[in-house]
Symmetry: C2
Subunit: 205 residues, 2 copies
DNA sequence: CAATAAAGCTAATTCGGATTAGCCTGATTA
DNA sequence: TAATCAGGCTAATCCGAATTAGCTTTATTG
């Protein structure tokens, strides 16, 4: 009965590495430890497996709508954490965020699979943009907005400030997805990015 | 004799839309206006077509090593153009860059194809990173560096300043690749981004 | 002009991979 | 306990897509 879930898990791994079309039902079965025809006791087709993954992905996304930030559910509560924000804490926040995105197994596989399949289908494109563009900007915008209202940052354009915070993180993430060996380099740049961000937007009392 | 080239062209279009594995030799032939078996007079396999595209891509990349900026070949000459830089010109530079990337037919199709195939192969990953991360940062770094030395911008960390300039552009580009209907929105954000960039780094005499 | 090459076509051929058929076992349940 | 069901297996089947064979025609060229 756990087989059903294991199929999704192994399929996700394979799809994220090779893309849907390059994965054979056989590969999935092998990883699960059963024979290919047995898969059909659980899902009626390879496509159905893919669809089930997307459904589950959407489901998870709805829940932790803000896993994009450290604690997704309640920006006000998160802001609490940043009461005494300073540059080092901001760096910590950014690198934590980055590491979470980069290493969390589900997050990582979902993202890579969507990267590869995004042009197949309008809907997948929408999911990708929502997850890796709109939601992070929206949620991080709230957080940074709180820091502004607390007088820790200063700007007259919070959305663009948020873009300045997030876009480098996003870009470095895509680099690491494609070349994991560059993670150290990316982390260094991350830190420099945030320190500079703080210099640019921070009130620097 | 132009058929050989047309094959690459049509194949690139298809690969960028659907990915290598989802394109049938038949589709390519149809677009070229010949029958599938005739393709084999020009390339010995579907894979060989793909490889030829990558070769050509690399070739083009070497040439216009700096198509990433407005005029790739000579940053010093480019800098000439920006002698009397002001915010509006910087916006113009950025949006031109953005539009070029976004609409140039080859650039766009290469980029989308690489996006989709980047995880297939270490080499493709390297090509992608070089083309859309390292080279733009390097080249734009030179340009922005010139503006710094001319006293138009100010920073003690040019590479990070360059990251701040380019990362939002890159991210907005990926949004438009996946959802072309968001181009207007992206252009608005682009402009705001650059104006804010100029406020942050500009000397604002 | 004859020979050759280039480039197209139709008709196989091949082959791999998704799916189906049909059987078996062990648990559940009426 | 007999019937049903869940979930696995082996052995087909099916089918589509890449590639090959082999023919034809139209340049090229010695």
């Amino acid at each position: 009965m756990d087989t059903k879930h294991k199929i999704l898990d192994e399929a996700l791994t394979l799809f994220s590495e090779k893309g849907f079309a390059n994965v054979f039902v056989n590969d999935i079965a092998e990883r699960v430890g059963i024979k290919a025809p047995s898969l059909y006791k659980h899902y009626k087709s390879k496509q159905a497996i893919f669809d089930a993954i997307i459904d589950e992905m959407n489901h998870r996304f709805e829940q932790q709508a803000g896993a994009l930030a450290i604690n997704g559910t309640d920006p006000a509560a998160d802001a609490e954490v940043y009461k005494n924000m300073d540059e080092d804490r901001l760096v910590q926040l950014g690198t934590d965020l980055f590491r979470y995105y980069l290493h969390d197994s589900y997050t990582k596989r979902f993202r890579k699979m969507l990267t590869v399949e995004q042009f197949q289908d309008r809907e997948l494109a929408r999911v990708y943009s929502r997850q890796y563009f709109d939601m992070p900007l929206s949620y991080q915008g709230m957080l940074l907005g709180l820091l502004v209202s607390q007088g820790l940052l200063e700007t007259d354009n919070i959305p663009i400030m948020t873009l300045h915070f997030y876009a480098p993180i996003y870009m470095l993430l895509t680099v690491c997805d494609r070349q994991p060996e560059r993670e150290q380099e990316a982390l260094r740049l991350m830190e420099e990015h945030i320190r500079q961000f703080d210099k640019l937007y921070g009130r620097n009392f």
